[in-house]
């Protein structure tokens, strides 16, 4: 038994270690001006929260949740902003940056001449993308608590949910990038991303759409992400949210598997 399991464990341990080296490489590239990038990434959802959550919210008034509870509009929009900023952060890192590193800067060709394997690069890049996104998520949740849009305990749960959302979109983004031929293809990613941002139950409940459209919306990954985080921050989470979690985990597994395989195919010709 030990002889069967142990080599496996060691090889997984090695994989984690080597993915860590990929993260280290990215950390080494951080320049002193990086905080500027950080601030812009953090500000985006905050600005949306203020302009739409508070601004438009003052026109909309309060909102009734499906379970009958009434919450203010800002409390409805804020978790959606968190979910979409997790998506945007993960996608920008795993599409633009990842594609550039792979195709144009030939960065991975150098890495693959070492013991590091394609799937380990994918994991390392994903972990790195998440590290940045998680800082934004934490900061945003602090603001939500300060504005009384959620409670500290709920914010902690929502933080973990935001990490899962980031990973799921990061995995999908990476898988997508391996199919991209040129920078033009990313226009499609940006359009899809923006469409998701507008229609995933972000600004209005999905129940306000016609039935056919509603089903479509509820099948999108961002809707599942918004549903999960909103349920957590508003304290209305139930069994149904397990479906969200399963959906996002499946997206992550699918994305990573495809990304690892495709990278092997593209780089190890």
């Amino acid at each position: 038994m030990v002889t069967l399991v142990l080599p496996r464990l060691i090889s997984y341990e090695g994989a984690a270690r080597r993915s860590g080296y990929v993260v280290e490489r990215n950390a080494a590239t951080l320049s002193r001006s990086y905080w500027l990038v950080m601030i812009s990434g953090f500000l985006e959802p905050v600005l949306y929260l203020f302009s739409i959550g508070l601004g438009v919210g003052s026109l909309v008034g309060d909102l009734t949740l499906p379970d009958g509870r009434v919450i203010e509009y800002a409390a409805f929009v804020a978790p959606a902003m968190l979910a979409s900023s997790s998506m945007t952060g993960a996608l920008s890192e795993t599409t633009f940056n990842f594609f550039g590193k792979m195709k144009f800067r030939k960065l991975y060709d150098g890495m693959l001449a070492t013991p590091v394997r394609p799937i380990e690069i994918a994991l390392g890049e994903l972990a790195w993308a998440m590290a940045r996104g998680n800082i934004y998520a934490a900061a945003f949740l602090v603001i939500m608590v300060a504005m009384d849009l959620t409670t500290p305990a709920r914010a902690v749960l929502a933080f973990f949910a935001a990490i899962l959302v980031g990973f799921a979109f990061g995995g999908l983004g990476m898988a997508l990038s391996t199919y991209m031929k040129s920078w033009q293809d990313f226009d499609i990613v940006v359009s899809v991303q923006f469409t998701l941002f507008l229609f995933s139950g972000t600004f209005v409940p999905a129940t306000s759409y016609p039935a056919a459209l509603r089903w479509l919306v509820e099948a999108t990954p961002l809707y599942r992400a918004v549903d999960l985080i909103r349920a957590l921050t508003t304290g209305s989470a139930g069994w149904f949210q397990l479906l969200d979690i399963a959906y996002l985990l499946a997206a992550l597994a699918l994305g990573l598997t495809i990304a690892g395989r495709r990278m092997g195919k593209l780089l190890l010709k």
């Binding site: 080494a28 590239t29 590091v116």
Partner: protein
Amino acid sequence: MTLIHARGLVKRFEGFTAVDGIDVDVQPGEAFGFLGPNGAGKSSTMRMIGCVSPPTGGELRILGMDPVREGPKIRARLGVCPQLDNLDLELTVRENLTTYARFFGIPRKVARARADELLDFVQLTERADSKVEPLSGGMKRRLTIARALVNEPEIVLLDEPTTGLDPQARHLVWERLFRLKQQGVTLVLTTHYMDEAEQLCDRLVVMDAGKIVAEGSPRALIDRYSTREVVELRFAAESQEPFASKLDGIGERVEVLPDRILLYVEHGDEAVAEVQGRALSPAGVLVRRSSLEDVFLTLTGRTLVD
């Protein structure tokens, strides 16, 4: 032990065969070369040896292991200097070595010490904290070579190590590689420069269209496939062709190139005298020793660098 062992090695891409069944054996401490023109299959062979390209057919063992199943283990003991520098442009010169060392699991402290040593070896200590982008081509290549040495490899693979460098930069690279060779590091390199092959290789194979057409030491190949000396004649005319027939009988062989005629002879000066005796007055005459370039020309009827 044979470090690299290939039998009937084949690499096929969609629609064409890059490597067409080659046999190669590289022994420890050897400087082994693949000489051939662009497209001969040298880089494809190197990528297979570097375990980043699975063979389509044949047998390949690197350090006694299977490159497909034990790729990471083999790569841990190889140093690779690719044809095109793929240095990390976001990092400094020194960081390029230290982060690369980490990919091999080398502890940070050791990595830093080794980076300093290697920077000294490739004469880049003064540029240690510079970014990579502003470096000259020769410096970038030297840094890539240093990076390939960071894991103290048993075999160093160099794909066209001096292509695109100016003569001075080339000589500096050669001199460093020669030092490595003296330290007992096994070098495997590809080149389409015959002078590079002659300078660095103990033994080489001549490749053409995916096949090995000759094998041996540079000296042995020249002795076997060429004459001792070569006379190069340039005639001031549109075409060199008409002059070829007038040279019949001088030397062992006459080769007509677009811009000159080569006479393969034992004694160059005697042949030149004979040419002049036939009342031919070429605009340029050069007597030189045979080189690997001539070996390649004899074997394939083409020049190495077109």
